[in-house]
């Protein structure tokens, strides 16, 4: 009974439609004839990108990112270009999504640990180097990295919005939280504007919605101390800090209208939080587990408010990309690579 009510609430606010992945493109009239909507998934164990067309007749493609042992977990997409930091392999792959090839592997500083990434503009993406407490601007047209910019301790996620770039510093020392995290605000010229202290531990993801930055804190591994910080982008200060986000959430996705924040993680399912009321719509304890699937690698929403998520499974066999239907059940799925941890949507121009 409770589950049914929760599913209805989630379905109502997200306005999810029960369409398969292959049919999704039909409901995107803004796309020109040469545009193709695709989900771009980074498969962490495979070191690949899966480009999954969200329209009928499309063919999925797989792009190898690197031969050396890498650990990509995140990506940023703009137009036909995707940038994937390669983790322990100190490079960032710049992928031409239309051609399905790696255009450049951009060399980053040694021991970069390249993890988070966000586009600053059409030419430059910012890549986090948690191993060096810096970020590196990567010019995707030239395939070169610029000078490092010092930020906080262990930056592992980057969010762009409202004319600024926000580097989320996890403050991990020896891979364990050393204290609350922070956000470094960079101006459009990539100068450090301010560092905002946060109250949560191990911030891992962020999203800009309106004039607020929402930062999800994973907390300590194995402990139920996940939390969420709300940062006022006018005052550049933490406005509030909300606990009760359960055991180690890692993924945060924002839907603009109606406003909702989706929270997910491995074994976590999908919870929903209303930024307007600052209350849970679906709390972690009763998180949605579509068709029983609780392992959520990453989530994204399209213009129609449809929610997609990746399920890495046990990371030994190929995972899946799922579309959640209005009933809260799986409405479409596609097999991707092993351990899909990041997903973004792309409008690829042929």
């Amino acid at each position: 009974m409770m589950t049914t009510r929760l599913i209805r609430r989630l379905a109502g606010m997200a306005a999810l439609a029960a369409l398969s992945l292959s049919a999704a493109c039909e409901r995107n009239p803004a796309l020109s004839a040469g545009d193709h909507l695709a989900a771009v998934v980074v498969n962490s164990v495979d070191n690949t990108l899966s480009i999954v067309p969200l329209e009928e007749g499309g063919t999925a493609r797989t792009v190898g990112l690197a031969q050396a042992a890498s650990s990509p977990v995140d990506l940023a997409v703009r137009g036909n270009v995707a940038v994937v930091p390669l983790g322990v392999y100190p490079f960032a792959a710049v992928v031409d999504l239309a051609a399905g090839v790696v255009s450049y592997r951009v060399s980053l500083p040694a021991n970069s640990g390249a993890t988070g990434v966000a586009f600053v503009n059409d030419s430059v993406a910012l890549v986090a180097n948690p191993g060096r407490n810096t970020v590196s601007p990567v010019n995707v047209r030239r395939g070169q990295a610029g000078a490092e910019i010092a930020v906080g301790v262990y930056p592992q996620a980057i969010v762009a919005g409202n004319g600024a770039t926000f580097v989320i510093n996890s403050n991990l020392v020896n891979f364990a939280p050393a204290g609350p995290g922070s956000v470094t605000v960079l101006n459009p010229a990539l100068g450090v504007q301010k560092t905002i202290p946060l109250s949560g531990v191990n911030p891992a993801a962020g999203a800009v919605l309106g004039d607020r930055l929402y930062v999800l804190h994973s907390g300590n591994f194995g402990q139920a101390n996940g939390s969420l910080s709300v940062v006022n982008l006018q005052t550049l200060a933490e406005e509030s800090h909300h606990t009760g986000f359960g055991v180690f959430p890692t993924s945060l996705e924002a839907l603009g209208n109606p406003s909702v924040l989706y929270v997910g993680g491995f074994g976590y399912g999908i919870a929903a939080w209303n930024p307007a009321t600052r209350q849970f719509l679906v709390p972690p304890a009763t998180a949605l587990k579509p068709n029983g699937i609780a392992d959520v690698g990453d989530m994204t929403v399209d213009d129609e408010g449809q929610l997609f998520f990746t399920a890495p499974g046990n990371c030994t066999q190929p995972g899946n990309l799922y579309l959640v239907g209005s009933s809260g059940a799986i409405a479409g799925q596609a097999t991707v690579g092993v351990c899909p941890l990041g997903v973004e949507l792309a409008r690829i121009k042929s």
Binding site: V45, N47, T62, A68, R105, S107, A110, F266, V338, C339
Partner: protein, 713 residues
């Protein structure tokens, strides 16, 4: 360095012979019948004169100062049938003998077929001492790499080197040194780079599932290393080469009553520095550091007779220190490995009965105070191990029936989780039977092996079997069906969990429930050319192959995956004795694919298992000269469980030129060995750079005649 290399090269090329003309000499070469492989340490005697000498690494011997007249020459060597002839000696002339020794079937205690040509299907790939010396191999890894279906996994020129057979993991290959396991008790892998080639008498590689005979960890194959023992003439060798390599070793042997004693020592050091491009995506030239290696060892052995049987006692100590430089793009400049190991074994054999007791102590330390990723570590592992094995067989009609038992006790102090058993006892009981039958005027040999093992960690019992039917004739055909298992290593199950690493105590053993193997081999002579060839095809499923994988949250952990294992091994040899030429080639196809029913990726090659590999080589010898050229191919590999990041295959060439000199009772050998002669920089594992061309010069002096108590005055 360059100047000294040039000088030694010139010394090799000098045509003048140091040997002086001498009256009355018997000289010659002893080789294995059928293969023409030179046989070292064959005893050549003139019994009436009380003279006995031993052949050198090229199978050559010379007995000088022989009186004119007819003399009986007798040649013997363990494992080969004796040979004798009459030779007429004239003053001022040398009588040359070319002596073929046939393998003695009595040493093969589980088979009854008589053959003079090694059968690779039955006997595996055998590399003799002479072939090891002729190849310029540095370590056991170089020796084993020449067997079809074998991939040596390495991480740079001075890193550890483990062996994979038919696409297995390194911990699914059992390596026995004089019957005692070399596999590390924690990792399960055998580092063949820690066994110097100079200490090896013979290596046998048996591909396929052999748990029914050898027990746990023989899921994909067995490597049998027999170290040198017995009477060895005094010898010394020095080597120098690129990467700052320098080495020295010496050995000495003497008769001791009815026994023979032998002792030796070696040391080798490599600086390991070279320049390389940081990465295929970053051509910045950087220097490889922390790639040095130092090793030293000493051994003593005694071979004699006890209770009517042959007794071998051997003990040795080895020490090794090496840098662990990490990947080329993210090096670890401070990581080090130290290892000390002591071994002792006592083996006794009388006819088909044999017994072995061996023990080993090992201390290994790995430390990195400032790793590029993860936490600093400093872990020491101490292992004490005792292994005992006894077996015997008896004949009935044309067949044999054998029984055996082995037991292992092991104590480990290591950086493992609390769940790990520190002391474990394991062992197995095995039986084998063989018989022959004549059907349609053909001889069929049948053999059956069965074994039950108790795993020392889990306490579980595992059964293995092998059934073989072989048809003899001009073309020998063999069909085998086997099962095997390979347990997870202690490290895989119980390593101390840390950043980036998650233990998997639920790991299951690798099981090979049903391996089919069919092969054919033949040997023939066309004119003066001796030809031999064999082909083997195999097909099996591997249930729960243990593969390290990166998991969620960027953590690595071993896991079980199901896989298909199908493939083909081919090898052909041609020997032209008149020209002193021998050419050979091998090719291996190993389809080791994920078994994921209903998934699109069923059929993808398992990570780092090259599907195609092989080599081709030519050896030439004339007079005092020997030369060898060899090219080895390592096929494309998947570094990840997809075909999207394929690493292309690569060739590596090896050249070796050697010349022997005679100086009275001493023989001087010089050899120049060039590895990756065409400066190939391909590497098996992505991210670990290779230096390209490497050269090494060996100079060895060896006494060719042992002191004899009844030499003529």
């Amino acid at each position: 360095m360059r100047r000294s290399l040039l000088a030694l090269l010139l010394s090799i090329a000098l045509p003048a012979s140091l040997a002086a003309q001498r009256p009355g000499e018997v000289a010659g070469r002893v080789a294995e019948a059928g293969t023409d492989a030179p046989l070292e340490m064959a005893a050549v005697e003139l019994p009436e004169l009380g003279i006995r000498v031993w052949t050198d690494g090229a199978g050559r011997f010379a007995i000088r100062g022989v009186e004119e007249g007819a003399h009986r020459v007798r040649v013997s060597r363990a494992g080969y049938a004796g040979w004798s002839t009459q030779v007429r000696v004239r003053n001022g002339e040398a009588a040359w003998l070319s002596i073929p020794l046939a393998r003695d079937v009595l040493v093969l205690d589980t088979v009854s077929a008589v053959t003079t040509v090694p059968d690779p299907q039955r006997d595996g790939t055998v590399v003799t001492r002479a072939a090891i010396e002729a190849s310029g191999a540095r370590t056991a890894a170089d020796v084993v790499a020449r067997a079809p279906g074998v991939t040596v996994r390495e991480s740079g020129p001075t890193g550890s080197r483990t062996v994979s057979i038919r696409g297995s993991g390194a911990d699914a290959v059992l390596v026995l040194v004089d019957g005692a396991p070399l596999n590390d008790p924690v990792s399960g892998e055998a580092d063949l780079s820690a066994v110097p080639a100079s200490a090896i008498e013979r290596v046998t590689v048996l591909p396929g599932a052999h748990s029914a005979r050898y027990g746990a960890r023989a899921g994909a194959g067995v490597v049998l290393i027999e170290t040198r023992a017995g009477e060895v003439p005094p010898a010394a060798e020095v080597s120098g080469g690129t990467l700052g390599e320098r080495a020295a070793r010496g050995e000495w042997g003497a008769p001791l009553g009815r026994a023979a004693i032998q002792a030796g020592a070696h040391t080798r050091a490599v600086d390991g520095r070279f320049a390389y491009e940081r990465d295929p995506s970053d051509p910045t030239r950087v220097h490889r550091t922390n790639a040095d290696e130092f090793e030293a060892g000493a051994f003593a052995a005694l071979a004699g007779h006890l209770a009517g049987g042959e007794l071998r006692v051997r003990g040795g100590w080895e020490t090794l220190e090496r840098g662990l430089p990490g990947t080329g793009h993210t090096p670890s400049p401070d990581a080090r490995q130290w290892m000390e190991r002591g071994r002792a074994s006592l083996a006794w054999r009388r006819g088909p009965a044999s017994a072995l007791v061996s023990g080993a102590v090992q201390r290994a330390r790995y430390a990195d105070p400032a790793p590029p990723f993860g936490l600093a570590y400093d872990d020491t592992t101490r292992v004490r191990m005792v292994n005992a094995r006894a077996e015997s067989s008896t004949g009935f009609r044309r067949g044999r029936l054998g029984l055996g038992v082995d037991a292992l006790a092991q104590h480990v102090e290591a950086a493992l989780s609390e769940q790990a058993p520190r002391t474990q006892y394991g062992g197995g009981v095995f039986a084998h039977a063989s018989d022959e039958a004549r059907v349609l005027r053909r001889t069929f040999a049948l053999s059956a092996e069965a074994r039950v093992d108790r795993d020392g960690v889990s306490g579980n019992w595992y059964a293995s079997r092998a059934l073989t039917v072989r048809m003899d004739g001009p073309v020998r055909v063999q069909l085998a069906n086997r099962s095997a298992y390979s347990p997870p290593s202690l490290g895989d199950q119980f390593f101390r969990g840390g950043v980036g690493i998650v233990p998997n105590p639920g790991l299951r053993p690798e099981r090979i429930p049903n391996e089919w193997e069919i092969g054919a081999s033949t040997a023939a002579t066309l004119g003066s050319v001796s030809l031999s060839a064999y082909a083997t095809a195999y097909d099996s499923d591997v249930r729960g192959m243990i593969v390290w994988m990166r998991r969620f949250n960027d953590r690595w952990s071993p896991g079980n995956v199901d896989a298909h294992r199908r493939g083909l091994d081919l090898r052909a040899d041609a020997v032209l004795p008149g020209n002193g030429l021998r050419v050979n080639a091998s090719y291996s196809l190993a389809r080791i694919t994920y078994d994921r029913p209903g998934r699109d990726d069923d059929g993808v090659q398992v990570v780092y298992r090259p599907r195609h590999s092989g080599w081709a080589g030519a050896e030439w010898g004339a007079g005092a000269w020997r030369a060898e050229a060899r090219a080895r191919y390592t096929g494309a590999r998947n570094p990840t469980p997809t075909e999207a990041n394929v690493i292309p295959g690569f060739w590596a060439t090896q050249l070796r030129v050697a010349r022997d000199w005679r100086m009275g009772v001493w023989a001087l050998s010089t050899a120049l060995d060039v590895d990756r002669a065409l400066d190939e920089k391909g590497h098996l594992i992505a991210g670990y750079p290779e230096p390209g061309r490497r050269a090494r010069l060996d100079v060895r002096i060896q006494r060719t005649q042992l002191p004899s108590r009844n030499r003529p005055r």
